[in-house]
């Protein structure tokens, strides 16, 4: 061992004990049995996995995949346009735009969600405006619903999409755009045939960065979704904190990890080809 290898040692030990070991424990617990009063009994069985793929739980998984995909697509659409607008703004404005986008992102998630709840809540501007204009509404449906979850997810994860894209748009060779303009191409044609094909790598990495955390999201659906919006992250959390069924919770997380790893693997293959 060389001196430089000793520098790696502390981080390696830390990773082994607090990242690898915990994951292996979860994998092991997923094959255990739930004790009578919660807790774990080390009786090996596959039945947790049987339950994971039961209709109710598989349905929640499907819903979560759908929502994460929707979030990713919306972020892609908005992200491309915003990054394009940011990168082609006058040079002295660009750092300001980056900061304007980073600020809410750096602001604590709980605070951002709190602000959204103030906005849609009783006595909030939205409800006041609706009742002032005489439109009928259900105050409860307004404060907790799926659209709010999507809004929360998109505004939370958009920066993960915009920053890689902005980096790519920044470096883009705009002579190609000028050439396309000279040849009479419109803005959309330029975007789809000149710019985007050159940004594939950033598009893939942005999508991954949005999709992964979106699939495991717990806080946003918990606070903005109400009881009806149950997502995979909430399901897992319930098993750990409320039902005290750790083996089932572990099996659910193993399935989520496997799905994410598969997606990362496939996307990386495609991304490296791009």
């Amino acid at each position: 061992m060389k001196f430089k290898d000793y520098l790696l040692l502390p981080a390696l030990l830390w990773f082994l004990s607090f990242i690898l070991a915990p994951v292996l424990i979860v994998a092991a617990v997923s094959f255990a049995t739930r004790g009578t009063y919660g807790g774990i009994e080390w009786l090996f069985s596959f039945k947790n996995y049987g339950r994971v793929f039961s209709e109710a739980y598989a349905g929640i998984l499907f819903e979560s995949l759908k929502l994460s995909l929707l979030t990713t697509i919306l972020c892609l659409f908005l992200g491309v346009l915003v990054a394009w607008s940011m990168a082609t703004a006058p040079a002295r404005w660009r750092p300001f735009y980056v900061m304007a986008l980073a600020l809410p992102f750096l602001t604590n998630l709980i605070i951002r969600i709190y602000a959204i709840r103030v906005f849609v809540g009783v006595e909030g501007p939205l409800q006041s405006a609706l009742s002032w204009s005489g439109i009928e509404f259900d105050p409860y449906a307004l404060t907790q619903n799926k659209a709010l979850v999507v809004y929360g997810m998109v505004t939370t994860y958009l920066p993960y999409m915009v920053f890689p894209l902005y980096g790519a748009f920044e470096k883009f060779d705009y002579q190609l755009v000028e050439a396309a303009q000279d040849l009479g191409a419109g803005a959309w044609k330029i975007l789809f045939t000149v710019i985007l094909p050159n940004l594939k790598k950033a598009l893939w990495s942005g999508s991954l960065l949005v999709f992964i955390p979106a699939l495991g999201e717990y806080v946003i659906p918990d606070l903005l979704g109400g009881a009806k919006t149950m997502l995979y992250g909430n399901l897992i959390t319930e098993q750990f904190l409320k039902s005290r069924d750790w083996p089932l919770g572990s099996a659910l997380s193993v399935v989520m990890m496997v799905i994410l790893l598969a997606i990362v693997f496939v996307m990386q293959k495609r991304g490296s080809k791009a």
Binding site: K4, A11, W14, F15, L16, L81, R117, T155, Y218, F240
Partner: protein, 280 residues
């Protein structure tokens, strides 16, 4: 001399509109929240005052959780910076065996969904019978921060020319001397950027803290979450507004500091920068 910027045809009006509408929707709820913190509704009508701010600042429970947050973030980012910087410098070596394990593990921790991270640590602490406390929170925060420090410092390291080390070696410096008296001073801005980043990440973290913190030892985000479950109140508005303003100040400071520029330059130089990029 200011480098000349090449022309960049502006994005179409549609893209710029989307950009502005998005910014509007990002900031609208925050603006409403701050306004709500400033308004006092009384029998005699409404007026503006800083009353809610004063009230929330004088509550010791909130100040205790702020103190917890600062303690955790300080300790966690210090440890993470130490471990992460050492690891990033170690990765510059050519030995493949160790490198591979460390960089693979650091990448895993980056793509891990937070929820899995949180509950796997909870399981670990449960199995080794470690009582949940601020210590378990610190351990958890260090675990996810190390990778970010490695990334920040690593980006700067790849931008550094190997000739610095070669020159030092030719002059007879030992491996230890090269690391401490050549590389460390050159890495200083990146190290402080890594520290600030992990401090912010730790200070902001809700989910992982929520899982592994001891009873009655809430950090600010966790306490805010429980209070918010009860409903919306002007006092909470005031507290949240204060936290937003704090983030604003830190962000401005961070964007103006050299540490931040290092973050960007590090990755830029790798891709062969042009004069125009340095202008940013």
């Amino acid at each position: 001399m200011k480098p000349v910027e090449r022309s960049r045809p502006a994005a179409p009006l549609f893209a710029r509109c989307v950009h502005w509408i998005l910014l509007f929707f990002l900031y609208l709820p925050i603006a409403v929240m701050i306004l709500g913190a400033l308004v006092v509704k009384e029998a005699g009508g409404t007026s503006f005052s800083l009353r809610w701010f004063a009230e929330v600042l004088s509550e010791s429970a909130w100040m205790q959780s702020l103190l917890n947050s600062v303690l955790v973030a300080g300790a966690a980012s210090f440890l993470a910076t130490l471990l992460g910087t050492a690891a990033a410098m170690g990765l510059r070596s050519n030995e493949k065996t160790w490198r591979y394990a460390v960089s693979a593990l650091s990448l895993t921790s980056l793509v891990f969904p937070e929820i899995v991270f949180a509950l796997s640590l909870l399981s670990l602490f449960f199995l080794i019978k470690m009582e949940l406390s601020l210590w378990t929170v610190i351990i958890a925060h260090v675990s996810f921060s190390i990778s970010y420090v490695m990334m920040t410092v690593g980006a700067r390291l790849t931008a550094l020319d190997v000739s610095y080390e070669d020159a030092a070696r030719d002059l007879g410096a030992s491996s230890w001397q090269i690391q401490t008296s050549i590389l460390l001073p050159l890495l200083k801005p990146a190290i402080s950027a890594g520290f600030i980043l992990s401090f912010l990440l730790s200070f902001d973290d809700f989910l992982i803290t929520y899982f592994v913190n001891g009873a009655g030892q809430d950090t600010l985000p966790v306490k805010l979450y429980t209070a918010m479950k009860m409903g919306v109140s002007p006092k909470l508005n005031a507290l949240s507004s204060l936290m937003f303003l704090m983030t604003l100040l830190i962000t401005i400071f961070f964007f103006r500091s050299s540490s931040f520029r290092v973050l960007f330059e590090g990755s830029r130089r790798k891709n062969g920068s042009s004069a125009e990029e340095k202008n940013l």
